[in-house]
Symmetry: C2
Subunit: 283 residues, 2 copies
């Protein structure tokens, strides 16, 4: 959002697309929004808060006959989804290392042959003049290895996580009253659980769970210092009760079903306690 | 140079200062070049090719009564020189990790309190909105530890390296004819030896020495892919014979006098061999 807002300030005309309640962009909306002068379409592959998987291949097909360059942010997707850029019709793709068990501080931009990029920084001629600075070779190798590894095991690992995810969602919605899943139940990343718990502040739940050794988040990690309401939850719910009470659990390679059972031992009590002192909760 | 050239293209008025044969900027030249509207003075603390140490503290004094912000690139200096930004009168200082045995891919910009910076990239609000991206905590800690360590031992280590450096320079100029030290013999980094060997191509010497297990360079490491003549050697010598035949040895914490003896066993033979087939060498 922020690079786009910055470009808008520089005079670029930007169209922001709406999403449905499931958090998914409709390919026909992309098609309708295209203008002859449109130079860039950027749709994230999977959302970082609610895990909504976007129909990238379908959008890629629509853009095939348009001059616009198609960019996708695949940071959340790289561990679980197909990254075949040709099949997806992608021109530019961003992936980072820390989401796929790679080295921190790494990432890459895939650019289709023929796309000319302008550097953001100027200095040494490293990386074909695109990014100055002594190349961090171990980190580059690490990122490449990490991507190869997660992509190799992505189908098997997705299956394993989907089972845990759906078990967790089932127990959450069954055992805690007035709790709602954000985003589509199936068109979501295997590792993403995002819920709104009415009548509580998500931030308070995070703190109580942290005390019990459970790590979860409200909103995105990048904005964890701000206490602003999640713009993603607002986009799909348009209701502060849902965004204030939203909570994200993200599963990883080491998480197990047993850990979910532990969360389900702790979380209902935390919610009950917080609702007792809540000004917005009515039984 | 390249960020400045980029700004120049954007319409900024830039004055490039000359250096003497020793590669050192004269403080009075800085003073003369200042205009009332000058907003930035950037002088590197020590040069990356010939190791010339610039009179930063003197220039800092001159700038005290001027609005211009004083920036120094201290990447080469951080391991050996005093980084007391207040004493030096510095407003902005860049340091990188890989030159001080810190983690690759790291660096920092010191900014004096009150200086407002604009981000180059836009995204997450990390680092007070100045640089988006998940913070690489281990690398940050590593950089900080590395700087503390090199600064702690800098006086002792400088003394050790100066002895090796001067021994090397003495043998080079004594044992190989028509070899010249580039830069000031004393106002240079303890670890830098830069010479011009007339009648040979520096690049050929690099290759032969590499075969013998000796690592050295022509020009800067950042431009090692280009075979252009060093603009630094040209600035002090204004003679292609000197820049083509220039060679840089950089000492580090593990180098010893014994290794210099080994280089002095190999290098004279390499020079002799290359001069035999040289079109520009006359006995």
């Amino acid at each position: 959002m922020n690079p786009i807002k910055f470009l808008e300030k520089q005079g670029c005309k930007v169209t922001y697309l709406d999403v449905g309640e499931d958090g998914v962009v409709k390919p026909e909306d992309v098609e309708k929004a295209l203008r002859p002068e449109t130079v860039l379409v950027s749709i994230m592959y999977a959302n970082n808060e609610i895990g909504a998987i976007q129909p990238i291949a379908e959008i890629g097909k629509i853009l095939k006959n348009h001059r616009a360059i198609f960019h996708t942010d695949a940071c959340q997707a790289a561990g679980y989804l197909n990254l075949d850029v040709e099949k997806l019709g992608i021109d530019l793709m961003t992936v980072n290392g820390s989401k796929i068990y790679g080295p921190k501080g790494t990432g890459f931009l895939y650019a289709k042959r023929g796309i000319r990029l302008k550097p953001l920084m100027h200095g040494g001629g490293q990386e074909a003049g695109l990014r100055p600075g002594t190349e961090n070779v171990p980190a580059i190798i690490g990122l490449s290895e990490a991507l190869a590894k997660v992509q190799k095991r992505r189908v098997k690992e997705s299956k394993r996580l989907i089972a845990i995810r759906d078990y967790f969602i089932k127990r959450l919605t069954k055992e805690i009253p007035k709790i709602f899943l954000n985003g589509h139940p199936k068109k979501r990343l295997p590792n993403n659980i995002n819920i709104s718990i009415l009548g509580v502040e998500g931030e308070s739940v995070v703190l109580y769970l942290d005390e019990a050794g459970i790590a979860c988040a409200t909103g995105s990690a990048c904005n964890s210092e701000k206490l602003e309401s999640s713009h993603v939850i607002m986009a799909i719910r348009n209701d502060y009760a849902y965004s204030h009470g939203s909570l994200r659990f993200t599963l990883g390679k080491d998480n197990t079903k047993k850990e979910i059972d532990y969360v389900m031992k702790v979380l209902p009590k935390v919610v009950e306690k917080l609702r007792k002192i809540s000004a917005t909760w009515q039984k």
